[in-house]
Amino acid sequence: MKISRNDLQKYFAVPLPSTATIADAFTFHCFEIEEVEGDVLDIKVLTNRAADCSSEAGIAAELSAILDLPFKNESMDGFSDTVVEVSLLRINEILGASFSEGEVEDVLRRLHFRVEKNGNIFRVAAPLPRTDIVIPEDVAEEVGRILGYDLVPATELPPASEILDQSRYRGIERMKDQLVEQGFIEVSTQSFAKNGDIILANPLDKTKPALRTSLEENLHNALDRAKQYAPLVLPPKQPVKLFEVGTVFPEEGEYLELRMTERVKEWGDAVGVSDNLSVAKLEDYGKDYMPVQYTLGAYKQFSVYPFITRDIALWVPSGTEVSVIESIIRENAGEFLVRLDQFDHFEKEGRVSYAFRLVFQSMERTLTDEEVGIIMANITAGLSVKGYEIR
């Protein structure tokens, strides 16, 4: 709902603060402000406040409560029939705060609630347009938001009394750790599929109206692409093996599937390429297992342009450090060398042969064979200068 500072000013005898201050007042005490343009606020009225805040007057009444500014020409329609009984203790229990009786009374006054005190109990009725004050928790919310949630302290939980249960999670993660040890890469794919037993009434992508019944097709497609991109991320002789753990939805009911792109040789002949983790006894398997923890560095976006690979093999004298050869290659390769792997070596008559794979790629454009050819010629020249023989 769009409303300007001027629109609001009509309801107040005293001058309102700046539009920015009004925006903050709403943001931290009532509603999200979607946008401020000049002196116009775009207010996202919460669904439970539609009854009283769909009008200018309703929004102005809310502002008067938040800023504690008198409302001009107040006309009251009376009070809700719903009377909520709540104690100061209960309000503070819910919020975890230690507000005083005076603070609570002040909030209720600012909101124009009708309040009767009965011993320790506040008997509260909201002004009529408001339909959302029904239970003690509603009153606690009014107190919290009007006084400000910054006044609610951050309190740590006491130690837990029940036994920590993470066994099923740990079982699932133990399976993943085993696969990573065996050289498998975890991928995650879409749950929506072309065909399946469960069809959505309102699919987002009309070509994929179903839920997958197996991870097989997605994993097959992911493997095709992984083989294509492997030189960018894997050493030359590393086989490309993928796995996914994800929910599948066959007719007989959903389950958590583990699927690999090939069998795990170390697991023996009896184990196939997929497993139903919903029936596997993963709680026992994970009970005492601590999943491996990793830290990740900042994400480096990959290039969307094609890459070019070149291999180079050379003879060097025995005792030559691989790192020395690699730094000569890097010095002569320039910025487009994105990966360098040494993948083969053998020794013969006092000399060693090393083979390297080089991967070239630009973040900005498609490289040509010609320019990579020039780079390779520079590298060859740089290595020859050192007396190495290019094979």
Partner: protein, 246 residues
């Protein structure tokens, strides 16, 4: 020699988060992705025609009126509270990581399927408060994003909590200016949720929270596009320097 493979960044994040919450006594629970109406909506104090239903873009299953793709893992809270009611317990702490679905047009910041981490704590009435929610999330974000992280609450409305808050997190990415980011929602369980799960809201109560996981990772690691997560692309999985912690 064959090198080790790699975990997807979502798995790595869930492990880190599970570990932080384990130190605060939270177990982990799972539930179905294809949910019934009760566990996704009605049991969360969002009955038919309730305005909060309109806030979530739900995928419905054809010819099965009672089946939806869960729009939040809060559905698992209902299942866990039901179990607590059956067991006669009075206290429980759980986080629920899992895939959820929203029928929204996709772009670099919106996916129709994403991961959510929801959590809740219940205990005898008066023992769990909104201040505990603030303390729990403050500790979580500090341990996950860094010691400079801080949080603030803003009023909100979800139906299944009362009071309800949006949770903003102050985060400064390396080399960037710090800013407030809307990271999750939370509040105190509405008494109707406790009652509908078979517990007595006079005796038991607590807080709940939940937020998208990808957004947290996008902020922490500078990932530009949420669609990378479910692309099945190994270039994304290998887009990070990885260090094993022992």
């Amino acid at each position: 020699m064959i090198q080790k493979g790699r975990l997807h960044p979502i798995s790595i994040a869930i492990r880190e988060i599970a570990d932080i919450f384990a130190h605060m006594g939270f177990g982990i629970a799972y539930g179905p992705e294809l949910e019934d109406d009760f566990h996704n909506f009605t049991g969360l104090n969002i009955p038919p025609n309730h305005p909060a239903r309109g806030m979530q873009d739900t995928f419905w299953v054809k010819d099965q009126r009672d089946s939806v793709l869960r729009t939040h893992t809060t559905s698992v809270s209902v299942r866990e509270l039901e179990k607590l009611a059956k067991s006669g317990g009075t206290s429980l702490r759980r986080i629920m990581p899992g895939k959820v679905f929203r029928n929204e047009a996709t772009d670099s910041t919106h996916e129709a399927q994403f991961y959510q981490i929801d959590g809740f704590v219940v205990g005898p009435t008066g023992s769990v408060s909104l201040a505990h929610l603030k303390g729990t999330l403050t500790r979580f974000y500090r341990e996950y994003l860094g010691a400079d992280a801080k949080i603030r609450f803003r009023p909100s409305f979800f139906g299944f909590t009362e009071p309800s808050v949006e949770v903003d997190v102050w985060f400064q990415a390396p080399g960037k200016e710090g800013r407030w980011l809307e990271m999750s929602g939370g509040g105190m369980f509405h008494p109707n949720v406790i009652r509908d799960a078979g517990l007595n809201p006079k005796n038991i109560g607590g807080f709940a929270f939940g937020g998208g996981l990808e957004r947290l990772l996008m902020v922490k690691y500078g990932i530009p596009d949420v669609r990378l997560f479910y692309s099945g692309d190994i270039r994304f999985v290998y887009g990070f320097d990885e260090k094993k912690l022992v």
